[in-house]
């Protein structure tokens, strides 16, 4: 977690998110896995077989 800023206020949630490399890893792996890989494979699986 991000440390409090010099003024003592909690950091912005975006800063907290960006400082968490494990969250970045999860987002960076999940997003293309779903949008590119799984969807692409789904397209290939659903190609109808030639009669």
């Amino acid at each position: 977690m991000s440390e409090p800023t010099s003024s003592g206020a909690s950091p912005h949630f975006m800063q907290t998110a960006l400082d968490n490399q494990w969250l970045m890893l999860a987002l960076g792996v999940l997003t293309p896995t779903v949008i590119y890989t799984l969807w692409g494979l789904w397209d290939v699986i659903n190609i109808p077989l030639a009669p």
């Binding site: 440390e3 970045m24 960076g28 792996v29 293309p32 590119y36 290939v44």
Partner: protein
């Protein structure tokens, strides 16, 4: 928990960084291996270039495909990923004044990558000593089949790189726990995190497809085959994303060099971090532009991945392309070069290869690799150039003009810091970025010209002489191929100049002893502005008007290039 003492560190007089000695040894070995592989891959590249010249055609087809496979794998993967390992350890340990987490695993990374690369090399070069070929080219599409140790070598190499990524992430955990930095990670290290995230997706995708392909090549399971379409979808998540790791790493290097040479700070660190987040989410989707002409895959999938989502990654690239030169401009103006539109650029240190290399990388990547990459990702336009020489032209515009040039530029800074040697052959180093970039720029543009005229890639003889389907390309296409490959040789000369400087510096350069006096530092632009009271710079209400003009030129170039390509498409694919 490992215990470290102050004797495990040294303070580098060149950079002022606290250097962990074990981490430094690993940075050295990874960087050295990278440069050796650059030389090896480059030599095969010269063979490819001299064969593709219609007027020379140096190698026989068998040797050509072997050389092309070796050149692609060594220069697209081995040189670059070894260098990236060096950069990640440098960022995680040296930039944060930190120790490297789990040095033993880091050595496992190095040896696995080295053994993996050696196995692939043995498989690819086997015809030289009468062995069975593995000339399947970098993509190794089934049903083309290589020897099993070709795939196993790639898997070991990828596992090594994956270990390196987790050593880097672990090193960040150590830095956080031991409080070697406060607040958020420095932007350049966050760029390293972005590259690592993309690398992990890339390597896992590679494993998902290469492990079954390895099993298939063993022929131990009767009836087990690899579906070529599934292979292509998953392989490109590995093959293209691996090049996106390079893009992120070289952009991080641009930020680093802007800070080192000018004392520049990003125009808006928040915006730059957000741009890196866009990369984390969307940059890998660029893989689909290799599949835009594949039947079976739906247009929804193709267009969503390119037009809808990839453009968010393009937005990120445009942000970086604006903020890096913008930061340099603001720093130069704050230091007194605040007249006219481009005085800050004209009076930049063009004789310093760290800067000249970085700026040539930035401009070349934007105008050559970037613009063409965006336009070719349009499904309709892609049909003009798919599987033509345009592709090698484009990716040399990103990986050579952009990534390799940036890596070379930062090496001129890393040699004194990491190897503790002054740069030898300084005159050669000064010229090198210009020679290399001249060769690489013209090479890329000429090949893209030939590709636009339909010249096929992946063929030893573009004329298909003596073949049943011989095709006569226009003379200008052959001329462009000759021109491109001549400049390819100039690019190779630039690469050899770089390798000479690196080897001469490492082995004969004047030693920088530990504990020697600190080198003069480039003053932080903000500190100078504070001292001189020059807080408001620029003109027309903009802090970086020159960069704004450059960005507009890039934007207009993209728009014009779109129109030119759609106009060309309409002439070769009539609708009525």
């Amino acid at each position: 928990m490992a215990t470290t003492t102050m004797s495990d560190f040294r303070v580098d007089p060149v950079s002022g960084l606290k250097i962990h000695k074990t981490a430094n040894t690993l940075v050295k070995w990874n960087a050295f291996a990278a440069v050796v592989f650059l030389l090896v891959g480059g030599l095969f590249g010269v063979g490819v270039a001299l064969t593709r010249m219609p007027s020379v055609q140096l190698l026989s087809p068998e040797w050509f495909y072997m050389a092309l496979t070796a050149h692609g794998l060594v220069n697209l993967a081995v040189w670059i990923i070894f260098f990236e390992m060096a950069v990640l350890y440098f960022l995680g340990a040296h930039v944060l004044g930190n120790r490297l987490a789990t040095p033993r695993w880091a050595w496992a990374q190095f040896w696995l990558m080295l053994v993996g690369a050696a196995m692939v090399a043995v498989a690819v070069l086997a015809p030289l000593w009468g062995g069975a070929p593995s000339s399947v080219m970098m993509t190794s599409y089934p049903p083309l089949e290589a020897q099993p140790h070709f795939y196993l070598g790639l898997i070991l190499f990828a596992v090594g790189a994956l270990i390196g990524c987790f050593v880097f992430l672990g090193t960040l955990v150590v830095a956080k726990r031991e409080k070697t930095y406060s607040g958020s990670l420095p932007l350049v290290v966050f760029g390293g995190v972005t590259a690592t995230v993309i690398a992990i997706f890339t390597i896992v995708s590679g494993a998902l497809i290469l492990i079954p392909t390895f099993v298939w090549s063993l022929h131990v399971i009767p009836g087990f085959t690899i579906d070529p379409m599934m292979y292509r979808v998953v392989w490109w998540a590995f093959g293209h994303s691996s090049q996106q790791i390079n893009v992120v790493t070289h952009i991080s290097i641009w930020y680093l060099i802007a800070s080192l040479v000018f004392g520049a700070k990003p125009m808006s660190e928040k915006v730059s971090r957000f741009a890196f987040l866009l990369y984390i989410l969307f940059l890998q989707l660029g893989s689909v532009h290799h599949l835009l002409s594949d039947p079976g895959l739906t247009s929804a999938w193709k267009i969503f991945n390119t037009s809808y989502m990839l453009y968010l990654a393009v937005l990120a690239s445009m942000i970086h392309g604006l903020t890096v030169p913008g930061a340099i401009e603001v720093a130069q103006r704050r230091k007194g070069l605040d007249t006219g539109l481009f005085t800050w650029l004209r009076k930049a240190p063009w004789g310093n290869p760290i800067f000249s290399g970085m700026f040539l990388s930035l401009v070349g990547f934007g105008f050559i690799g970037g613009v063409t990459g965006v336009v070719m990702s349009v499904e309709q336009v892609n049909m003009i150039i798919h599987n033509t020489m345009y592709l090698p032209g484009h990716f040399h515009g990103t990986l050579v003009v952009g990534t390799t040039m940036a890596f070379m530029a930062v090496t001129y800074w890393l040699i004194p810091v990491v190897f503790q040697r002054k740069i030898a052959l300084a005159g050669v180093a000064k010229l090198q970025p210009y020679v290399f970039s001249l060769g690489a720029w013209v090479f890329s543009i000429a090949l893209m010209g030939a590709g636009t005229l339909g010249v096929q890639r992946r063929h030893a003889d573009i004329t298909f002489a003596g073949q049943p389907l011989a095709y006569e390309y226009p003379e200008i296409a052959k001329g462009l191929m000759d021109l491109g490959e001549i400049f390819g040789i100039i690019m190779a000369v630039g690469a050899i100049m770089f390798i000479l400087v690196v080897l001469a510096s490492i082995f004969t350069g004047e030693r920088i002893p530990e504990g020697s006096a600190p080198w003069p530092k480039v003053e932080d632009a903000d500190v100078v502005a504070e001292r001189t009271g020059k807080h408001h710079v620029g003109m027309w209400g903009m802090e970086a008007p020159g960069t704004f003009i450059l960005a507009m030129i890039l934007f207009v170039t993209i728009v014009l290039y779109y129109f030119i390509n759609f106009k060309y498409l309409s002439t070769i694919w009539g609708l009525s």
